[in-house]
Assembly symmetry: C2
Homo-oligomer: 195 residues x 2
């Protein structure tokens, strides 16, 4: 019971910290800001967490894991490349919208990680983007997509997806699957018609 209480308090701290990191950015968020939001003294935070960076680290790597898990079983299935890309986009949007604060911290604050975490993080992100590039290339090989620089296409795709957490919360009209579907159609019509 005491352990349970500790874990839950730790999660509470992490959640509030994530919200502040999103709002003010990681360097501009002080441990005193965070403590004040939780109604305690800054020093008291350290009975629950090891350091400020520990929180950032956990958010960034947990989100990275979520993104990988979401697209992991898609490749196995035998289906059209178009369907594969569409499912990947929807999976990505679902992770992005599940916790918009954590998503924005993941997308914007990772650069404040120290080594060796920073290098690990960048490697993971590159691997993830590579998966999308492979799908686009496959579609070009089997004729489902027109030729187009696959890096350009994937950067364009992911950047439009990754902006979603900035407006999703107050938008309200669409759920993640609908957003994924709309964005899929938008980008797929470009891939299918060529540019």
């Amino acid at each position: 019971m005491e352990i349970e209480k500790k874990i839950s308090r730790k999660e509470e701290i992490a959640r509030e910290a994530t919200r502040l990191f999103r709002e003010k950015g990681y360097p501009a968020t002080s441990m005193r800001d965070l403590a004040a939001e939780l109604g305690i003294e800054a020093a008291s935070l350290y009975s629950h967490i090891k350091s400020k960076e520990e929180i950032l680290h956990k958010v960034c790597f947990r989100m990275a894991e979520n993104f990988f898990l979401a697209i992991n079983d898609i490749d196995q299935e035998t289906e059209t490349t178009t369907e594969k890309l569409k499912k990947s986009i929807i999976a990505h949007v679902e992770v992005l919208t599940e916790d918009t604060n954590a998503s924005i911290v993941f997308l914007n604050e990772w650069k404040h990680l120290s080594e060796p975490y920073l290098s690990d993080f960048i490697k993971m992100r590159d691997t993830y983007e590579h998966r999308f590039r492979e799908i686009v290339l496959e579609g070009q090989r089997n004729g489902e997509f027109k030729y187009m620089d696959e890096k350009f296409a994937v950067l364009t795709l992911l950047s439009s997806l990754n902006w979603i957490p900035n407006w999703y919360k107050n938008y309200g009209k669409l759920d993640p699957t609908q957003i994924g579907n709309q964005l899929s159609s938008l980008v797929l019509s470009g891939l299918k018609n060529g540019i």
Copy 2:
């Protein structure tokens, strides 16, 4: 001549500060970091600039002005809405790629402005986005574009454009007009075919 020297030193400081703000973020860049890059003491910066925020302010508002100037005369011309949107996209990309450091600071660090500059900045950005929404709506009214939520379309468009400064420098294959053309085709095929 002494005045010229002072102005040029001030610009040198602003340029180096912009580079650091882009790399580390505004709050994580100290005036001592900046001074060290320029080979002087931190205190010496203050004979050229008033404050750290003055630099951020100038970058953000100069870029905002650049974006407005670039699309300002497009509306006047009588042409198809498709052409109007295409020209606006190319103009936007040209500003984005002209100084990628300044663009990224403009896009990511504006939130560290203090009031009343912060509110002014947000107002300008909203006005700018409004211009793009109006073009999309016009295209829907005259039948050039299929119906689609115009906020969604513009957010998707601008977010994919605004990622360009993050990869443009090292990409090398395309110039701003070509990038604008490719991205226009990509998004226009979505707008024209509907989603």
